[in-house]
Amino acid sequence: MTSLPWLTVLMVIPLLGAIVLMLLPRDRDVLPKQVALGFSLLTLVLTVVMGLQFQADSTAPFQFVESYPWIPALGISYAVGVDGIGLVLVALSATLVPVVILAGWNDVAPGGRSIKGYFALILVLETLMIGVFSATDVFLFFVLFEVMLIPIYFLIGRYGGADRRYAAVKFLVYSLVGGLLMLAALIGLYVVSAQQLGQGTFDFAALVGLDVDPNTQKILFLGFFIAFAIKAPLWPFHTWLPDAAKESTPATAVLLIGVLDKVGTFGMIRYLLPIFPAASDFYAPLVVALAVIGILYGALVAFGQKDMKRLFAYSSMSHFGFIALGIFVFTSWGMTGSTLYMLAHGLSTASLFLTAGFLMMRAGGSSLISTYSGVNKVAPVLAGFFLFAALSSLALPGLASFIGEFLVLLGTFARNITVGVIAALGIVITAAYALKLYQKVATGPTSPAVEGMTDLRGREITALAPIVFLTILLGVLPAGVLNVVNPAVERTLEVVGISDPPPVIPPIVQGGEQ
Amino acid sequence: MSVDNYIILACVLFTLGAIGVLVRRNAIVVFMSVELMLNATNLAFVAFARMNGNLDGQVIAFFVMVVAAAEVVVGLAIIVTVYRSRRSASIDEPNLLKY
């Protein structure tokens, strides 16, 4: 490995940026934004450089590993490292932050709440996001998992819409319920490790190596699972999301739903399955049922929404159903699919919320669908991006989400045909609400709120363009991601001890020399 | 007479004191009830000392008396202050702090 502590550097730079921002004079309006953008871009560049050094064929479970004792008395260390799944999610975080900074350039009106505070919070969040995806000490993971709530809480509560206080508190209390349950389970795990190893530990590898009694597993699993299910969110732990999404600024919503919520599903892959294999197997039918209900229910509720942001929230819930489904069918297709879907969903969420944000900003901030009509006529570029976002959300083949969704369904189908078929129905409803939204907003005669609307400006297009580019790139050439994700998925499934079902008829080898 | 009877008497006195605290309204009387409880305890100490055949209990009783005296000083100071500002020694009168 290289000598540079990559992951720590990635975490420190945004934090440094946040500190620099706070030291800036109060009366500067533009400077904080430029500084924030600079730091986030620097992080992105370094992430790319790090990603290029990642060795997909390495046999080590984690790369860029660092480990220092933190609280040795409790077996806690500062230990970071990424596998393929962690790497892509770190990359997703590093990509989305500069995008939302650019997109949220004017989210905070000068003279109101602190501008530098807004961008500093986003940068702090970036530090925490990168940390949470790269922690290999479960305690460190938990700490970051919880601390992440604070910047989001302030981002919603200070910079959000009319009902922001309610939404922020609801979000935080919901998350704390999960967090505390997870804490209890985490401590339980620690106690088990102390009993088995003599000295308690939070080291991921050591915990995976434990031989936890299946009954204990079942209890501890629930603690972790509910936390992740609230975070993700799965049905029926989701009702904080619509409120949080509605009251957030688009930039916050993108980070919240696009990245933070992935911690839930990431946690399922990284922690639930390897540490509690028996319990995962035991609860799989339940989780699959919740996921499938979530897929259909989320889509149906989204279909009937009158508010754009709430619609996106429910659609995300539906998509998180797919992601959880892919994880809990225990096939390499499903799990890789889920990982890809996480990426794709991050991107599609970004395009949805950001375009909707641009739209709303032009019409006084209303997120009611009925406010808008005929946008395509006055702002075709905006409408075009909006359509792209809708298509990306409905998993059009050729776009990133398609491969994820298809693999998830394939993995499900291979395990249980009925569940696969029911889940597949979701994609029809998804198309229905996505296109219904586009139809209402972009087509038809222009509504008064839309009349005279300006089209997207250069900054806004610059923010969206990389998202669009990546969405298409991942849909057409996912090889780069698959190369790094596949080994991690294989390794996880190996730990769980389940392999893919073989085909009914052994495939015929393509003969001859190729 | 068996020691048990003294113990029982002590318990009765203690209970009476407790009931006094609960039912009397005048702060002074309430306070006297508390003193009754302390003295009931003293009786118990002495009786137990007899029962156990050592002097500890008797010595303790002296200590308790001293403490009770100190308590009186503090207690009366507080009650008098309250009485002066409220013109009432009722313990139910000061009722601003609640819920």
Binding site: G188 | T41, A44, N54, D56, G57, S85, P94, L97
Partner: protein, 513 residues
């Protein structure tokens, strides 16, 4: 003990020096009050107070390896005892810093110029305008600290009782000394006194019953008796029950909590800080010692009791705190809830539980001092502004103060990277180590409810716009600032790097018997 031959008790004065320093300072303080002129008193009292507290702490640190039973077994100076005393002294120093504040209130300090003066009388007004200050509170304070030190190291039920009274009697008086809202303050004092005396009567009767059972008030003798012959139902049950009532009262555990909100609300903020931090620490110290040392033999009996009390306390404190509209009262209920969490650690009856409880008390004590320091700062001309809605927009008016308060709130809500988190972690861990899942689940539920009202304070401070007439926090003098800075620093450092403190506690070992 042979009653016929009186041998002089052997007393190691060096080992007892910390007690002597504080106690003597208190006595000197009384003499100063009697003989020194009005203007000269304050400096002398301050020197006495800080000098004795710091001196006692210094001696404690120097003596930290001199462990053993002292004064014929009446006092146990052991690892936990030293830790508790040290903690009490540190907290007392911070409280003394708050008490010596003279900048926040335009009329002077937080205490009535003459406690006996009629509220609202001409007499009182005159005293105020002439700038009289009373300094009687300082010797009272020192006596109380002296009582606390004795309380946590008492190894004998009689000493325990006397220490309890030495600690409590001055507190009753201090509670009634507020400069502002004096009627409330007096009411608090009266209620605290009546209920305190009532509870100490219970405690004493419990002592009597245990004495009757074992023939001694020594912890070790009682423990031996219980171990040898666990029968004698009535005396043991009655004794344990009444003794527990007395101790649980001081802790503020449900259903013996009723005095807590009223007294916390009515007392002047520095005194409340003293009660909420130091008294709580002391009472837990004594409870731990009594339960672990004297009653260790019947722990299967009091363990379920403490589970139930812990559960009730956590839930009740959290639920009722949600409905509060007054900051001090809310913190009072919160401190009830926190007592419940600490009781989880106590109820395990293991060394781990002991360590967890001590860590929790350290964390909680400092956080609480910080909270009351800020409560004292947020005020208008009429005194502290404790209505929650008056705190709206504090984040905008006084960002630094609000951020500190936010840190304290998050610490009480046991958020990671604050001391409260590690504390709760350790407590839950000790409970799970003895397979007490049920209590942990109740703890989690209570934590969620508790988090709700801590978060609400943050919402009010940061997410609400300041309303007309809600002033910024007053600028305090260096003493309060110092106390606040120390508490905030400890709260954060214990959350980020708790290692040294955990090691310190674990090295201190368990109680001597």
């Amino acid at each position: 003990m042979n009653p016929e031959v009186m041998t002089a008790p052997s007393i190691d004065y060096i080992a007892l020096l910390p007690y002597i320093i504080v106690g003597a300072a208190g006595v000197i303080g009384v003499i100063v009050e009697a003989f020194v002129g009005r203007n000269g008193r304050r400096p002398i009292q301050l020197v006495l107070a800080f000098g004795s507290l710091i001196g006692a702490f210094g001696v404690l640190v120097v003596n930290r390896t001199t462990l053993g039973l002292q004064a014929e077994g009446a006092i146990a100076i052991d690892g936990p005892g030293i830790l508790f005393m040290g903690l009490i002294l540190l907290l007392a120093i911070l409280v003394a810093l708050l008490m010596s504040e003279r900048q926040l209130d335009p009329a002077g300090d937080a205490f009535a110029p003459r406690a006996s003066a009629l509220p609202g009388s001409d007499d009182e007004r005159e005293l105020t305008t002439r700038g009289y200050f009373q300094t009687e509170i300082w010797p009272l304070f020192l006596f109380s600290v002296f009582g606390m030190m004795l309380f946590v190291t008492a190894s004998n039920l009689l000493v325990l009782f006397i220490a309890l009274e030495i600690m409590s009697l001055p507190l009753y008086l201090m509670a009634g000394m507020s400069r502002r809202r004096r009627l409330l303050s007096q009411e608090a004092a009266l209620k605290y006194f009546i209920l305190g005396a009532f509870s100490s009567a219970f405690l004493l009767f419990g002592i009597a019953l245990l004495y009757g059972y074992s023939g001694s008030v020594e912890f070790s003798v009682i423990a031996d008796a219980l171990a040898a012959e666990p029968g004698q139902t009535a005396l043991v049950v009655g004794g344990v029950a009444l003794l527990s009532v007395g101790l649980l009262f001081k802790i503020g555990a449900v259903p013996f909590h009723a005095w807590v909100p009223d007294v916390y609300q009515g007392s002047p903020a520095p005194v409340t800080a003293f009660m909420a931090a130091a008294v709580k620490v002391t009472a837990f110290g004594a409870l731990l010692r009594v339960m672990y040392v004297a009653l260790g033999g019947v722990r299967w009996e009091w363990e379920p009791l403490l589970w139930i009390i812990a559960g009730l306390t956590m839930l009740f404190g959290s639920v009722v705190a949600i409905a509060q509209t007054d900051m001090k009262r809310m913190i009072a209920y919160s401190s009830i809830a926190q007592a419940g969490f600490i009781l989880i650690g106590v109820s395990t009856a293991t060394a781990e539980g002991l360590y967890a409880s001590i860590f929790y008390l350290v964390a909680y004590g400092f956080t609480t001092i910080g909270i009351f320091a800020i409560i004292a700062m947020v005020r208008d001309a009429g005194g502290e502004m404790t209505r929650l809605d008056q705190w709206a927009g504090l984040g905008k008016r006084s960002p630094l103060v609000a951020v500190s308060f936010g840190i304290f709130m998050f610490a009480l809500a046991s958020f990671p990277l604050t001391s409260g988190f590690i504390a709760k972690f350790l407590v839950f861990e000790s409970a799970l180590a003895v397979d007490n899942l049920g209590l942990v689940i109740v703890g989690v539920i209570a934590s969620v409810m508790a988090a709700f009202f801590y978060i609400r304070v943050v919402v009010i401070m940061f997410f609400r716009e300041p309303v007309e007439g809600s002033p910024a926090a007053a600028v305090p003098s260096a003493t309060t600032t110092l106390a606040l800075a120390v508490s905030a620093a400890v709260t954060v450092i214990l959350g980020v790097l708790p290692e040294p403190v955990i090691n310190l506690i674990e090295q201190a070992g368990v109680f001597l018997r």
